[in-house]
Symmetry: C2
Subunit: 330 residues, 2 copies
DNA sequence: CTGAAAGCGCTTACAG
DNA sequence: CTGAAAGCGCTTACAG
């Protein structure tokens, strides 16, 4: 274990009785190597407990084989399926995915951080904070964002379609007085616009609240409370995401409204929370695993030299009906 | 932006009119540098948009300035405060914390992965999977675990004390028939033993269920259902963690029990879920931010050469009373 | 496939 | 503080 020195590629070459170059070829999965030699090298690696030095490999090859994933908040597990989708596509290609929280432009600027570490590519699943010029590596932005990254490809759920599914579901259940709880950020703003558009299109009156609130449980609570005080006759509440719906649920209980008896409640994301038996929230599944996979495939193409114009890929969402919605009593 | 070549330390030295060695000293925060020269170098770095190469620095210095945090599951945000505590202590010292999921011994072995990347130290906040020999870098293990890592320091909440606080709270409210919902893993096992010990000590009959279940919402639901079917007269249910308590809450509702009217419910972790208005769960705050800080301080000491015997540090927990517990009606 | 060689961009003594 | 030098452990052509 604690040998004097970690074995290097030289030790492996000597042990296997081959050249140093050959070891490097084996490590990089080249097919120019005969099976016999390949096995000899692998056996030597095994015997010596050799681990390649990432630092040396990165320095020599001028690439790190690391891809950065920038997220808003580790506490909001929305990003986990994106991560797993990226891993499914990129790990077999030898890439590792590193995750960082983007905590504003202050201290923890994750984008800057990743560029210093020299990731080979970047997936931004958070508000970028401000417009960015070209970052020097392939970038995929995921979701509706307030700011742009020059030259980035975009992969996201078809949120407009998700909104239509959710609102159409409520409409089909007889609801006509449908309120919306919104919050700050590009994602909530996009959903708010979609909500207003859909309502107007269907000759219904849009009623929303909470544009200044955070898009968390507290924001959902405050927004729903405001919304229902101003519009006591609402029969359905649509929150901009599942966590906000949890807050809205508390506001509804506080106001003495049964769900779904008096008011139907809908979220967005199909989070674990929505899936829990206790909340059993009707929501929109955004297929973020697929978003991650497509983001990974897009980056792979870029890393292989594809320099076409930025692309936008849209993934179809799906409505998941649970017991938080029911027929309108009105 | 897209200059022909990234600037190196040579370019900075030329731009600042100093030697290459001096630039390196400034980058590493040495105090052997005069303020004037330091400023000159910083200005040059700014002008050139210079970013040090982590790969080159790691290779030359034989350390990466990276610390790995091994977690069980990105979906269970239990670890987030540990991460933030580590960051608070280690980032000012120039370290970056990388997080990986430990998905069994198969594919995603995070411990192996980190050793390949050559982290300078490791924090294991997950089940290690099997006993490990010395890993070659300083290691802190957090929490009650089934397996050991040779030579590792241990930092964790005083879970025994946490259990006493929660059970004492229920006892003080008049509860005598208190059941426990448990699950797999070292953490749940430790809590189960503590529960049984406390109950016996107080001449009460321990009743538990779910030892084979996952420690998630589903496990909490199944365990609580089994527990209450076997012991319909329980007046309080103590789940091994908050997420399991969420599942237990659904089981209670399904069985027609009001919380806290018929049955009081307690969790463990003081997660966001417990804090939500809708669940408002009485639980144990484990002060995991502090656990992260102490883990960081411990690693720092080890990296500075402290080679004393492995230490065990214990952080005092705190009971958080919310509306899921009340006086026993019995 | 081999083998000698250059080079990636830093850090680390070391003599001055 | 400077400056020349060695070296970290790889990758990458390149001539054979």
């Amino acid at each position: 274990m604690n040998s004097a020195r970690r074995p290097t590629i030289y030790d492996v070459a000597r042990e296997a009785g081959v050249s140093k170059s050959l070891v490097s070829l084996v490590l990089n999965g080249s097919d120019l190597v005969s099976p016999a030699k390949r096995e000899a090298v692998k056996a030597a690696i095994e015997r010596l407990g050799y681990r390649p030095s990432r630092a040396a490999a990165s320095l020599a090859a001028k690439r790190t084989r690391a891809v950065g994933l920038v997220i808003d908040d580790f506490r909001n597990p929305w990003y986990v399926d994106v991560l797993h989708g990226l891993q499914r596509v990129l790990e077999p290609e030898g890439f590792h995915i590193a995750v960082r929280e983007h905590r504003g432009d202050a201290g923890g600027n994750a984008i800057e951080g990743f560029l210093s570490t020299q990731v080979d590519a970047l997936v931004i699943a958070a508000e970028p904070g401000h417009d960015h010029g070209p970052l020097g590596v392939p970038v995929v932005v995921s979701g509706w964002r307030l700011h742009e990254v020059a030259g980035a490809d975009i992969v996201s759920t078809d949120e407009l379609q998700g909104m239509r599914l959710a609102l159409g579901h409520l409409f089909g259940l007889g609801h006509r007085r449908i309120g919306h709880v919104t919050g700050t950020g590009g994602s909530a703003l996009g959903r708010l616009k979609a909500y207003r558009g859909w309502m107007t299109e269907h000759r219904l009156t849009p009623e929303d609240a909470g544009a200044e609130n955070d898009t968390n449980e507290e924001g959902g609570y405050l927004g729903a409370r405001e919304l229902l005080r101003a519009n006591p006759d609402l029969t359905a509440v649509f929150a901009a995401n599942d966590t906000m719906a949890l807050g809205a649920r508390a506001a509804l209980r506080e106001l003495g409204r049964e769900v779904p008896g008096d008011v139907s409640l809908v979220g967005f994301d199909n989070s674990q929370l929505a899936q829990s038996r206790f909340l059993a929230l009707t929501t929109v599944e955004a297929h973020t695993f697929r978003v991650g996979e497509v983001a990974g495939e897009t980056l792979l193409a870029r890393l292989r030299g594809d320099d076409g114009a930025p692309r936008r890929t849209v993934i179809a969402p799906e409505l998941v009906v649970r017991s938080s919605t029911g027929r309108s009593g009105a």
